[in-house]
């Protein structure tokens, strides 16, 4: 991981300031469902990153679960194609 150098907060060689990073972290925070409801000022960056990782993983799990559900549903539905087209039009 040779990029460790540039990842350090102290290096401003790439022109990215701490403020910009903090702003990005705040933006990430807005997307997370749990932290949004809590007092946003006191959340540390590491907590935001941790929640982000957990959130991404849970989203992946949801995709998997929904895929399983869809695979079962599609198998049993015989007019699946017509229904798919119908739902396409109503989107």
């Amino acid at each position: 991981m040779s990029s460790r150098r540039s990842r350090s907060r102290q290096s401003a060689g790439s022109g990215i300031t701490d403020d910009q990073i903090a702003e990005l972290v705040t933006r990430l925070q807005q997307l997370l469902p749990e932290i949004r409801s809590r007092c946003s000022d006191k959340v540390s960056a590491s907590k935001v990153l941790q929640e982000t990782c957990n959130y991404i993983r849970s989203l992946h799990r949801e995709v998997d679960d929904l895929s399983e559900r869809l695979s079962e549903l599609l198998a049993t539905s015989d007019n699946a194609q017509a229904a798919i087209i119908r739902s396409l039009l109503t989107q």
Binding site: R9, I21, L31, L49, C53, S71, L74, Q81, I84
Partner: protein, 161 residues
């Protein structure tokens, strides 16, 4: 930034097309391996989302690249979640990293650890600058949420009441 309504419909359109392809049995499985259906669907979901986003994001480019390279395992984000062997290296390295993050004010070691995890979770996150990684993560999460929403709507639509 992006128009979420547009993304949602683009993704839904592409994904539904893939779904009907999978359903009619016209799935091309590379290397002659037959994928279980739910696997095809989950890969189709990520692929459809990456296609809907296009190539203007690094993570979507990476997803499309993985899928074109073929192989279910590569296309799946699971490869990024198997750092089990490599994770052990983080522990002894923490002492050194603490010194670098001295001016942080936060728990320095866990930020480094989280950065690594994030890099693995977000496709293409390995070679990025940190600020870039954060921006990509934000977009990735937004798209994942859209993806889950559409998939859920489809599943609800088909669920017999």
């Amino acid at each position: 930034m992006t128009n979420p309504g547009g993304l949602r419909s683009s993704f839904a359109r592409i994904f539904l097309r893939s779904l009907s392809r999978i359903n009619s049995g016209r799935v091309s499985s590379s290397r002659g391996r037959t994928l279980p259906k739910h696997r095809s669907i989950s890969i189709a979901a990520y692929a459809s989302m990456a296609s809907a986003v296009g190539t203007r994001r690094a993570w979507s480019r990476e997803v499309l690249r993985r899928i074109r390279r073929g192989g279910a395992r590569r296309a799946s984000r699971r490869t990024s979640e198997f750092p089990v062997g490599r994770k052990g290296r983080k522990e002894p390295g923490n002492g050194k990293k603490l010194k670098k993050e001295a001016g942080d004010g936060n728990e320095g070691s866990s930020i480094q650890g989280m950065r690594k995890k994030l890099r693995r979770l977000v496709p293409g996150g390995e070679g990025m600058e940190f600020h870039r990684l954060l921006a990509e993560t934000a977009h990735y999460i937004k798209c994942l949420k859209t993806q889950v929403g559409v998939m859920r709507s489809i599943a609800d639509y088909y669920t017999p009441v």
